[in-house]
Amino acid sequence: MHELVEFAVEKALELGADYAEARFEEKNGTSLAMKNGSPEGLEVLADRGIGVRVLVGGGMGFASTNVLTKESVAEGVKRAVKLAKAASRVRNEPIRFSEENFHEVYYEVKMRKDFRDVSPEEKLELLRKIEEEVKATGVNVPMRYLSYSDQVWHKIIANSDGAFIESIIPRVSIMYNLVVFENSQMEQAPFVQRAFSGGLELIEKDEPWEWAVKDVQALKKLIYEGKKPPEGKVDLVISPEVAGIAVHESVGHPYEADRIFGREAAQAGESFVKPDMLGERIGSEVVTVIDDPTIPNSWGFYLYDDEGVKARPRYLIRDGIITEFLTNREYAYKLGQHSNAAARAINYNREPIVRMANTYLAPGDHSFEELIEDVKLGVYMVSFNEWNIDDRRYQQRYIGREAYLIENGEIKHPVRRPILEITTRALWSSVDAVGKEVAFYPGTCGKGEPGQGVPVWMGGAHARLRDIPLRRP
């Protein structure tokens, strides 16, 4: 494939492209599902193709094909160049890319237990283990949907500026949806996922059945012992899982430079953040938010982005101050910066756009006990179900699934569906203490058109928020 990728870049330059980039991607894997104890069958993924992106006269063109012959790739290149030329006539200013140092690199994530050597039936055993452990709790769980997926992503990226990056990244995940029915009430843990870059050993070590058991036991307790949450201004301690979704939605997304400049306006939207807000305070001094693609075995892992730029941790907020946006080469140029390697494409048939990887609230200096002990009246939100945010990323809401009352420094009974509905600035300005320990939770981040759901981790430390106007359903 190396030759075909190089051929595509050369062909584009020959046809008059000012810049050319070709990306071969091959994805192989299996997925399995189990619905209410019954296996649903096997899905084998075998997908590959080449995408070509070019700049001609300041216009951008992209074409892809999964017919991997020289003729078909040449046809694709021709189309991309033609599309870019035509697009350049409907532009006010030409698209330019930032200057970067490029490398020729091969990297690979090793599997200790290679899932390609494991039979589908053995993989199904992982789901059976969840079934059995959930059944053993004695909790009534009438609807159970479990799925397993593994994939190996093989990429070869070359561009006309000298990048040549080849990578092999295996990814493995388990997802469950569990509906608990007790005492004539229904509660649900939907789309709970555990996911890693690496081999099957990571799932085995993580023990997703333990997570499932905790979830159904917490939901049963919520049904029998849950009370209304307090209303009005109280303190709120959020778990790493809730901190994770909050940093992803209200820090990561609005700091994507393509949104800031309006490129995603018709789909994912724009941003309340403007270029001149760099250096502005957005949260309290204890708030630092980092997006880091390089965390080993993370779900959002990569070492070079899909424009061939070397990845590094990005400090989006440092001590409460906006310090950095997420950029690709197009928007780094507009900002007069170098790219911080946030360009990701989900497959060969998608263009690289600005994305998060693993976004988290950086740890502070409080133990969990210290966070709780001086809360007079408050709520500890452990997990959430419903969440959403407006398309400028300013008005958000998270509804607790598992949550508890905090009274005089002690965690008490479960509370039902406490609702945090708050602006981004108020959220991060209300944090007065952050925990020491960090944990991560996987998700699929949606953006782009056509959609590009990319694997990400979200997480961080516990955080304590003061004087939050909490709601009830």
């Binding site: 992209f62 006010n92 179900n385 959403n388 407006d390």
Partner: protein, 440 residues
């Protein structure tokens, strides 16, 4: 392509597979994306692929083959066989449809003019200009052209072919940061394409939405624009799939034959809808697509089914395969009798929501959810529209269906980034919709 399908079927049978379904696609798709009144990228996709479904003594597997050499096809089939032999069976698998069937052409689903269209940028410029003429300052959006061929062969003697085209545009117009509007137009034949209408609507709403004030909270009568209601019906369509019901993702569980909506509500899935963006002659196992009434006068009539699930529940398929998960083709909410003016006239004090996004459920089985209005939002007071902002619809899906009070008499076919299953819907008036907002 049928030769390829025949080859795969022959080899699969030689290896001992039972049910075999081969769906071969050839697609050509173009996209022009734009923002800030200029084209940000233009794309072309060419794909050829075989989607293969095989069964071996109630064990089932699926895969996609893109490298179509005879060697790779045989290798893939042998790999599937090897993997399936040790697998546990799917006990509730009941087979695929038995043909042959007769297929009818669906009017307005193929247009040579779209295949031959050289460059669609002119339509983008027309849409942008239509929005700018209404007072918009920044216009963003996307245009697609589609040309698809699908060849189906099954081990039950079915051979079917369909070829379709489409062209569609989605336009969002902005004046300031908080003032925007959205319009779409999705059609299958070029002469019905009206990019200006999408641009004009986006520009008009943006202009009406100038200087919005913080919206109220409480319970309000809400007029949902077709764009907004299509979003909710799109989520509902997934929940009507028997698969989603079994997997715990639907409030329609145990609701067959029960009231789930106001009596005025009739919701159908129409697989053979003329000019429908999701229309196709046959489903994934070759059953001719048709009209299926899901909700009739407020009563839930059927889940969406394929042959296997239909046999499991001792009924007939609704021609919605998905071999694993049945899916809707085009959801249609039957229109009412109100003109747009009459519908708004029913509301003394309420809210007009032109678009929503980010619909998320707290509990899929109870249907509790919220969604965020975006683009123009208006307080309706004594026939006047006053722009507001920053509110959230916080309600229950079955509750919304039950409180549908009236519907417009004109329908709109909606398909865009937030509405992936095409939906045809009129303007809809819903009573007592829960509205919340951030208070800090």
């Amino acid at each position: 392509m049928f030769e390829l399908n025949e080859f795969i079927l022959k080899k699969a049978k030689e290896l001992g597979f039972g049910d075999v379904v081969i769906l071969t696609y050839e697609t050509n798709r173009r996209q022009v994306r734009f923002a800030n009144n200029e084209i940000t990228v233009a794309k072309h996709w060419h794909e050829r692929k075989v989607e293969l479904f095989v069964e071996l003594e109630k064990r089932i597997a699926g895969t996609t083959i893109t490298e179509l050499s005879e060697e790779n096809i045989e290798r893939t089939l042998k790999m599937l066989l090897g993997n399936m032999k040790g697998m546990s069976p799917k006990e509730d698998y009941y087979g695929i449809a038995e043909g042959p069937f007769e297929y009818k052409d669906i009017p307005e689903t193929f247009d040579k003019a779209i295949v031959e269209l050289d460059e669609p940028n002119e339509y983008v410029e027309r849409a942008i200009n239509a929005a700018l003429e209404q007072g918009a300052k920044r216009v963003a959006g996307v245009l697609y052209t589609d040309h698809d061929k699908v060849y189906l062969t099954t081990s039950n003697g079915i051979e079917a072919f369909d070829e379709g085209t489409g062209i569609e545009i989605s336009v969002r117009a902005f004046i300031g940061d908080l003032e925007s509007g959205h319009g779409t137009n999705s059609v299958r034949v070029l002469k019905k394409f009206d990019p200006e209408s999408a641009g004009r609507k986006a520009g008009e709403i943006a202009s009406l939405a100038k200087n919005p004030e913080q919206g109220p909270e409480g319970r309000f009568d809400v007029v949902f624009d077709p764009l907004a209601f299509a979003n909710l019906l799109g989520y509902m369509s997934f929940m009507t799939s028997a698969y989603a019901v079994e997997a715990g993702f639907s409030p329609f569980v145990n609701k067959l034959g029960q009231k789930v909506a106001n009596e005025v509500v009739i919701i159908k899935d129409v697989g053979n809808l003329p000019n429908g963006y999701g229309s196709r002659k046959f489903d994934d196992e070759g059953v001719p697509t048709r009209k299926t009434t899901i909700i009739e006068n407020g009563t839930f009539k059927t889940f969406l089914l394929n042959t296997s699930l239909a046999r499991k529940y001792k009924t007939e398929t609704t021609a919605n395969a998905g071999l694993i998960m049945p899916r809707a083709w085009n959801i249609v909410l039957e229109p009412g009798e109100y003109s747009r003016e009459e519908l708004f006239g029913e509301v003394k004090r309420g809210i007009y929501i032109t678009n929503v996004w980010y619909t998320r459920f707290q509990n899929y089985v109870t249907g509790d959810f919220s969604t965020i209005p975006r683009d123009g939002i208006f307080l309706i007071e004594d026939g006047n529209l006053k722009p507001i902002r920053n509110i959230r619809v916080s309600d229950n899906l079955l509750g919304i269906l039950s409180r549908i009070e009236a519907m417009g008499r004109e329908s709109f076919h909606i398909h865009w980034w937030e509405v992936r299953t095409p939906v045809t819907t009129p303007y809809v008036l819903v009573k007592d919709v829960g509205i919340t907002r951030a208070t800090k």
